[in-house]
Symmetry: C2
Subunit: 348 residues, 2 copies
DNA sequence: GTGAAAGCGCTAACAG
DNA sequence: CTGTTAGCGCTTTCAC
């Protein structure tokens, strides 16, 4: 059951492979007649184009890579959907990878994508790339979620993580909570880092003092949020509110609170980050800080595509021009507070 | 910035490309010395293997394709995660595609995957493949969610959709609800079809009569569930319970019920299908019929891999043996009722 | 242990 | 409009 190739078609159609190639690709310079003949024979023989061979000779795969830390997290689902849509509209294929918050795996995936000759990579790193682990990678790479410019020039699309934390903690304080705890996400992640930073800063500014144990890292999952909250609520000194590094953690947090017999909002406030679709459900009504994730995705694709474009035009360009290339661009989007029931002290 | 190839390495190391290839791939027949030399030079020159070229000559890509109808649906997220893990453990790469419930797009994706020479495809079709639209595809294909054997031999991994519906509707009736409505999913989908079928059958068996308007199709989304429920609750004759074709629909359904001022469970019962992670949250406590989706994924990969294996061994095999190949295999998994609060008439 | 040579299936000048 | 030719970068016999 050997695959049929354009050679087989050429033989049968009594033309050259070049002509077959042209006809099959709809390129100019083929008579109506041969065009039809070739296509007819091709479909008769059940020909299926071999993209691998085409990619090799054309030296392009028309493919982008995307790496996210957790494919099943609805936040990243939204990102994937947005990116998928955008890349598709530009005629690019997308290779989706899941790093599972594992830096080693992430590195492997990066290499693998490059070996497969993707034209560019959209990377949502599991920890800041400022350690320089990708500095030697020459291909176009767009990094999500970093909001600092580090040594190597690279394009970023991110949200203001520090401000995100400020919005959340200030809201908690505004609502009359006085002992907020912080449930971080993956310890290494930049977003979690900045959110904790702002948590500490805001508390200090407002002269609010809480035990160190109120701030703890973990995983960005419901389970992790549940476990950590349950533990904190066991202690003698109990927090009166939780700032969770994402909505999943907050969901787990709420479960633990409910189980312990506290009333959410009235007794203990909860606020998350992301504004995942499930947070808006009337049974949940989770207060949160919304991240414009779809927008990040769209922007990311656009910037990456520009990056690729530049790469291709590299020859006809002065060094001067290169300086203000998009390689150094940082797009920083704004988070937005979405107050809901879980931070409402009294039912009005 | 031309890529460095094994030719460059060979030249620099003063060996042949064959030797470089062997060394880089860790194949036997290379002296310790040359092995080291080649690797050293390779990393010095920043060599990056070109998988496209390797795939072409080896005629294998070590890649599987996966097509799901909705990448952001948590049900499919779970499937993807399970499949990803399994394929990775076998050293296969995975190409994930989103058909967006669009048959045309699905077909395109199938073709595209084949052109990229994936070795096999895991397909969760947006509508039954019994229309024969893939009968001419010769590559190994594993179909999820079909539970009937159709004309063409093909391997299936599915859940008993009919039984799923029976479990749900019987549970509703058992709990004392007497006017269940059915909120279907994507009209064309087999799962929705069977679930509606069983809905009708069970009602008939139990001599329960409901208006035709109680059964309606839509999309497998929160939004769609919300809209349809809101509409049904406007009518004079109101259902006292909802059997939703999946949990997302049920979530939207619950929102609408709450908004209208009904109490979930006490006034109106709701049951979904899938047992998505969010359904278990204490604020939700959605009764549902659990589908062993991870298991489906694992089984799917295993069967597909066997299929591929067979394909390769095809030469040394009699026709007799082919008859009982896995090509015809159907794996049918069991759904399981998970009763929770949303179908509890009275608070005990 | 190593090299020479023949492709994998397709595209892209360059001629005609 | 069509054919010839020369690869794309790598693997793999088959000799040596």
């Amino acid at each position: 059951m050997k695959d049929v190739t354009i050679i087989d078609i050429a033989r049968k159609a009594r033309v050259s492979t070049a002509t077959v190639s042209r006809a099959l690709n709809g390129l100019p310079g083929v008579s109506e007649q041969t065009y039809k003949k070739v296509h007819k024979i091709a479909s008769e023989m059940g020909y299926r184009r071999n993209d691998v061979a085409a990619s090799l000779v054309k030296r392009q795969t028309n493919t982008l890579g995307l790496i996210v830390p957790a494919i099943s997290n609805p936040y990243f689902s939204s990102l994937m959907v947005a990116i998928k849509k955008r890349t598709l509209s530009f005629g690019y294929k997308l290779l989706i990878c899941n790093s599972d918050w594992d830096v080693e795996l992430e590195l492997k995936l990066m290499k693998s994508l490059l070996e497969r000759r993707v034209e560019g990579i959209l990377l949502y790193p599991c920890k800041p790339v400022s350690d320089g682990r990708y500095d030697s990678f020459e291909s176009p790479i767009l990094v999500f979620g970093n909001n600092e410019k580090d040594g190597f020039c690279r394009a970023y699309v991110s949200v203001d993580n520090y401000k995100t934390g400020q919005l959340a903690v200030n809201h908690l304080l505004d609502q009359g909570y006085i002992k907020p705890a912080f449930l971080g996400g993956n310890v290494a992640s930049l977003s979690s880092f900045y959110r904790e930073q702002s948590y500490r800063d805001v508390l200090k500014q407002c002269h609010v003092d809480v035990p160190d144990s109120f701030s703890c890292g973990g995983k960005y999952s419901i389970q992790s949020g549940y476990e950590r909250t349950a533990q904190l609520l066991e202690q003698s000194d109990v927090p009166d509110s939780f700032f969770c590094a994402n909505d999943l953690i907050a969901l787990g947090c709420m479960t633990a609170i409910t189980e312990k017999g506290f009333r959410i909002g009235a007794d203990i406030g909860v606020i998350g980050v992301d504004n995942v679709i499930y947070s808006a459900l009337p049974q949940i009504e989770l207060s949160t800080v919304a991240i414009p994730i779809e927008l990040m995705g769209l922007n990311g694709v656009d910037v990456l595509l520009k990056l690729i474009q530049e790469e291709n035009d590299e020859n006809d360009k002065t060094k001067q021009e290169k300086e203000r290339s998009v390689r150094d661009s940082i797009i920083l989007l704004e988070p937005e507070l979405v107050p809901r029931k879980t931070t409402q002290r009294a039912v009005l």
